[in-house]
Symmetry: C2
Subunit: 446 residues, 2 copies
Amino acid sequence: MAMKKKPVTGMKDILPREMEIRDYAIGLIKETYKTFGFTSVETPAVEHIENLSSNQGGENEKLIFKVMKRGDKLASAAQKLVETGNASDEGTSLDAGTLADCGLRYDLTLPLSRYYSNNANDLPSPFKALQMGNVWRADRPQRGRYRQFMQCDIDILGEPAILAEIELILATTTLLGKLEFKNFTIRINDRRILKAMAAYSGFAEEDYDTVFIILDKMDKIGLDGVKEELLKEGYAEDKVEKYLGLYAKLYKEEDGDSANNSEANSINDIKYIQSELGDFLDAEVSNNLQTIITSVEGAKAADFRMKFDPTLVRGMSYYTGPIFEISMDEYGGSVGGGGRYDEMIGKFTGQSTPAVGFSIGFERIVMLLLENDFQVPGTGSKKAYLIEKNMPADKMQKIMTLAKEERDKGVIVNVSVMKKNKKFQKEKMQEEGYTEFVEFFADRDF
Amino acid sequence: MAMKKKPVTGMKDILPREMEIRDYAIGLIKETYKTFGFTSVETPAVEHIENLSSNQGGENEKLIFKVMKRGDKLASAAQKLVETGNASDEGTSLDAGTLADCGLRYDLTLPLSRYYSNNANDLPSPFKALQMGNVWRADRPQRGRYRQFMQCDIDILGEPAILAEIELILATTTLLGKLEFKNFTIRINDRRILKAMAAYSGFAEEDYDTVFIILDKMDKIGLDGVKEELLKEGYAEDKVEKYLGLYAKLYKEEDGDSANNSEANSINDIKYIQSELGDFLDAEVSNNLQTIITSVEGAKAADFRMKFDPTLVRGMSYYTGPIFEISMDEYGGSVGGGGRYDEMIGKFTGQSTPAVGFSIGFERIVMLLLENDFQVPGTGSKKAYLIEKNMPADKMQKIMTLAKEERDKGVIVNVSVMKKNKKFQKEKMQEEGYTEFVEFFADRDF
């Protein structure tokens, strides 16, 4: 039977050149985060369907790859399906409760929460976790976006203080600096500021999500666009005016001083918001945000800036405190982000556990490194041994011993059988970075 | 809703202590194999159900985790199922052709074959591939065996000469030596010797698989046990006698000299088999096997021995030439194995491509390292900063700068908020390997 040569739709085979960069980045990530006291953890790729469908995953829950039950359980679920004839419901009633009992994880946050609640007794408190692993989303395939991709998350569980946020931002930006990224921005906001601004303007709590989805478009459609959409949604003009008035003031300031997105500017903006919102916003929230910005700016190990951005929303509804996102000029969108999610672990344990996470967009970062023709540093010298076919055993042994001695010193030695067109063979190997060639013939001494 | 805290049946959460060893082993594997000229590749975890069900996977095909179709395709497949009422067929008719369109890979060999046939034009020839990745098998859960586990394979594609076998065995054993494994055995045989011995004894070709399954039990049930089972299977006594006569001669020799499982012993055994089989066995096969053993023995970088074992079968029917397996005294069974499979890639491309692979049992090796309390070398010094809660921004900045300076030098610095029971906190951190503690107070200078 002829077999299918292409990978499944939306997933990709990774070629050696990209793997070299991935392996290097993975090594650097582990090394860097380790110096911040993070330890690696791993959860299975497959999770309970009930956990995946628990409304912690937002839009991603629609994109789950579901794994079928097996054996008798599958047979009886299928039998039941046939008997009830319940398949016409657009296929949905087939899934979670019936034919599938698990699915591929769509992020690393939900599995980490389960992991922590399962293993907390064996883990330090606070627990600083590093996770690198693939996640799967049955998204519409498009250029540069795949249905299997690597995520790289650091999380601090059990630490209520903003020390956690500061450490996460410093660790992530130190890593990006080592990968030679420059001049990027960490935008920061707090879910409680978002909510206070909406409350102050008179929006009802049940409208927040809709309002924030529109607010999130600010950088694309501008103040006027946001205003138009809010009004179209049916919100009263006075609320909308009051709400956007807060933003207008900040933007106006920036217009007059657009090049100066300095630390001072961010601090001023936070102070202004706090003074306007008054009792709507707990002063500790805005003070903490200022401390995060000041501490990171003062101790940073890379060329970036912190920027308070009151339009930053971050999609996931599980965030409860500070939220942040990495913006890079070279890449239109975000290349990573995170925030505090103090309530998710309680969903498993019934006992609230503070938690903050920062995820970098590993695939986007690899893509940028590839596009910039990033050279992996410290690759040892590459040597090719070309040996004649049918080498007798004693000479083969000698060649292997010579190779061993060089490999022990870290030299990459590729032993290949000499081809008829040796010139072409060498040219091809030179393209792979082999610079030295040693030839061995069966009838000559060496 | 209460969520499930345990991982799905048969899969496991990996705790920091094990992850430390895994991360170290993964780093060492990449570093070691790289010096042999191997380059990393990666294939998606999800494969076409048609490829997974193509009879290349032996028993493992029964253990596939199947992934359901999505959206309209799922709905129409389910509708069809309901209409035909075809679920009672023990659930099997539901699967491949109907509700599932892909599945989780159960090994790395089949995906590599697909990868090579898809990307051969962009790859060197021969191509030396290193793959590390998880595979999934819906096996009956049991102690120490999981349904998700990491495999680590090296393969040489496009090289017909036994240089490929020699390089694979040397690379694998060099790695095991670096992981401090000693006194293990690489058992080696050739599928063509297995077949020639059966043919010489008068077995029909269609009986080979059954005969080999019984032969494979030799180390458990001995010569007499194998004889009994072959007779019970209905094979003629003269064939069985002739067949086991070949083995008896080898075992008898060994009895007289049981401590001396030397290279010379293996070479003698191969010569004996060749002389007995005569025209049934191409002399090149036995000569090549001798050259492999001599070359590896002469250039080996670890404490192990090569041993010709004519009872070695290896389950997979795709093997076509030399086959090998790692036996370790510390661990009852095999901790890795491989062989030549020259015909598999042709199933994709229609064009035969020689291939040899060697897979190490990553999970078993990690288990052995854990049991032996393996200490990961070269872990940097670990320092804990304990800081008072509510540190003002300027002091927080100073602490982070101090931490940065130490982290830049490779020191692991874990900054934590001081707890009420500081003594207990320090004891806990000492258990994690933190040896130095520095305390910072908000009202003191530092």
